[in-house]
């Protein structure tokens, strides 16, 4: 795991956690975790339920004070004093966001905008951005789960936050909504926000995040780009194809799998050569790379 020297962590590092631990009763929820979140970076925080993801996010918000270690958000300790400056610069979407059912969508957003000291003039465009401008004057109690989640995202986006902390943001969203959700996130990242996405549905983070941090029982077990993690986990790509009837009688390096297909694992550098060596009659050629879920399972096993 790469450590950042103090010289490097100037204003570039938006959120910095070092050696952070937190215990709840007998349970060590977070155990000596280092984590840096830089501007314009989108990091996936993955782990089982109870791996310590939410606790880490709450420590960044100053809602939970670490027992040991240091948390800095824009250079400020978020749990000291009111943590006002750091919280003004953060956007937070809690897991299963709960909002006041008696208020309308527009009133909810206005309430939070006032708390953040933002002009209310931005709100209409925010509601449009998350696609619930049509329901703005309805009470939140009448909203569907997807609409509540959108409104939750809208409040997290108030005031162009420097860092967005999204706890299981897409759980319970339908696929179309999920896509528009990630589009918004990509746009924010282009604008230079640091984004932390916690999730246990890894497959959908693929292609959305620059870096993945894997948590297991409060410890960080992996941290890096998806391709680095693949190498670290020593999970090589596999090539599969369906030979025609007259295919190689001696499969050699290939092993037979269901459906009469052949499969072999190989190094990343050999993929092209092997593909060129396939007979003309080969059909149904596939290159399988371990998905995030496979990687995750490998790291979890390693940690246990």
């Amino acid at each position: 795991m790469k450590r950042i020297s103090p010289e490097q962590m100037t204003d570039q590092v938006t959120i910095d956690m070092r050696g952070v631990s937190r215990r709840f009763g007998a349970q060590l929820a977070v155990d000596g975790v280092d984590l840096a979140l830089r501007a314009g970076e989108c990091v996936g925080l993955v782990g089982h339920n109870g791996a310590g993801k939410s606790t880490m996010i709450k420590m960044m918000l100053g809602l939970v004070r670490p027992d040991s270690g240091v948390v800095r958000v824009l250079g400020e300790d978020p749990s000291a004093g009111h943590g006002v400056a750091s919280r003004r610069a953060l956007g937070y979407l809690p897991e299963n966001v709960a909002l006041h059912p008696a208020l309308t969508g527009a009133e909810t957003l206005a309430f939070y905008a006032r708390l953040k000291g933002r002009p209310l003039s931005e709100n209409a465009s925010l509601l449009r951005r998350v696609g619930i401008e049509g329901a703005a004057s309805r009470r939140v109690g009448t909203y569907s789960k997807g609409m509540r989640q959108r409104l939750g995202l809208a409040q997290a986006l108030l005031g162009n936050p420097r860092a967005l902390l999204l706890d299981e943001p897409t759980s319970g969203l339908d696929p179309a909504l999920r896509q528009s959700f990630y589009e918004i996130i990509r746009a924010l990242r282009r604008e230079g926000a640091a984004i932390l996405l916690s999730s246990h549905a890894l497959a959908e983070l693929e292609g959305q995040v620059d870096r993945v941090v894997v948590m297991n029982r409060g410890r960080k077990v992996a941290d890096g780009r998806v391709s680095d993690l693949r190498r670290l986990a020593a999970m090589p790509p596999r090539i599969r194809f369906l030979p025609d009837g007259s295919g190689p009688s001696d499969p050699g390096a290939w092993s037979r799998i269901a459906g009469g297909r052949l499969e072999r694992a190989c190094g990343e550098d050999d993929v092209a050569a092997i593909l060129r060596g396939l007979p003309q009659s080969a059909r149904d050629i596939e290159i399988l790379r371990p998905s995030l879920d496979d990687l995750y399972a490998a790291f979890q096993k390693e940690a246990e």
Binding site: F24, K58, L61, L63, V64, H82, G83, V84, A85, R87, R88, L90, Y92, P94, N96, V97, A98, L99, H100, A102, L103, E107, F111, Y112, R114, L115, K116, G117, R139, Q155
Partner: protein
């Protein structure tokens, strides 16, 4: 200050939306009007102001009703928001925990203030207008409204204390009802029982004073039933205070202390609490 006002505004709007404001105001107005017109019927014989009689009956009603309303309004305020998850989001904003508690307190107090002033005010005006009487009772009536709001504030603060100290909403509700029973019913019964059993041997007037000040409902009773002479005639039990010799200022300070102490304790507990 700004953050507190934002939360006050939100609580007020919540109160409007969930009909609390309308319900409490209507309830107080209807009961006050009923008591005002039915209860003041016998005034013809004893030649006192109908409003004075209304004050006596209204303050008895208030002792039961306002603490109950205040506790129902407040027991859920902290633990409920934590349970539902709205508190975590709120505290992720640049707002301190004491600001949240004070903002909620001011908002809930505003709801009680509105309900009491309008509910009792309507009844007071109606009684005075239809039945007449000397205007001196107005001061006592104003005192009734002001102290009723204070009494409400006391139990809102106690409700927050309960809400900040227990683990879930169900427990908070149960404890709140227990608090209400204790201060409104059990305490006085126990005190009277004690006085009767003691026959004045050990319980000095001094000790009685302290015991009365230890229950905000009694403080309220003393304030309203004994301070105004005309009203005191009907006060019965609360005539105690004539001997007790507690000045109205002392009583009002006691009520204020009963607001400040639980509120401060609630803020302290909430600050240490895991959200």
């Amino acid at each position: 200050m700004r953050q507190i006002l934002i939360i006050v505004g939100k609580e007020w709007r919540d109160g409007l939306r969930n009909r609390w404001l309308v319900a409490t105001t209507t309830l107080l107005a209807v009961l006050a009007l009923t008591l005002g017109f039915l209860g003041s019927a016998p005034t013809g014989a004893v030649k006192v102001s109908a409003l004075s009689v209304t004050i006596v009956s209204l303050s008895s009603l208030t002792i039961f009703l306002v603490p109950l309303m205040a506790l129902l309004l407040s027991y859920d305020a902290i633990v409920g928001e934590i349970d539902r998850g709205t508190m975590a989001l709120l505290l992720a904003y640049p707002v301190a925990r004491w600001q949240v508690v004070l903002g909620k307190f001011a908002g809930h107090l505003a709801i009680l203030l509105f309900a009491t002033v309008i509910g009792y005010g309507v009844a007071g005006v109606a009684v005075q207008w239809t039945q007449g009487g000397e205007s001196g009772a107005w001061a006592a009536f104003a005192l009734l409204i002001a102290t009723s709001v204070l009494l409400g504030g006391v139990f809102v603060a106690i409700g927050y204390f309960v809400s900040a100290s227990v683990g879930d909403r169900g427990t908070a509700g149960g404890v709140a009802i227990g608090v209400w029973l204790f201060f409104v019913l059990i305490y006085d019964m126990a005190l009277l029982g004690g006085l009767v059993a003691d026959q004045g041997r050990n319980l000095t007037a001094q000790a009685l004073n302290v015991l009365l000040l230890l229950n905000p409902a009694d403080v309220y009773r003393l304030l309203n039933l004994a301070t105004a002479n005309d009203v005191g005639v009907f006060a019965g039990v609360a005539g105690l205070s004539a001997h007790a010799g507690l000045a109205p200022v002392t009583l009002i300070c006691a009520l204020l202390a009963w607001i400040v102490a639980p509120l401060a304790a609630a803020i302290l507990l909430f600050s240490r609490r895991q959200v």
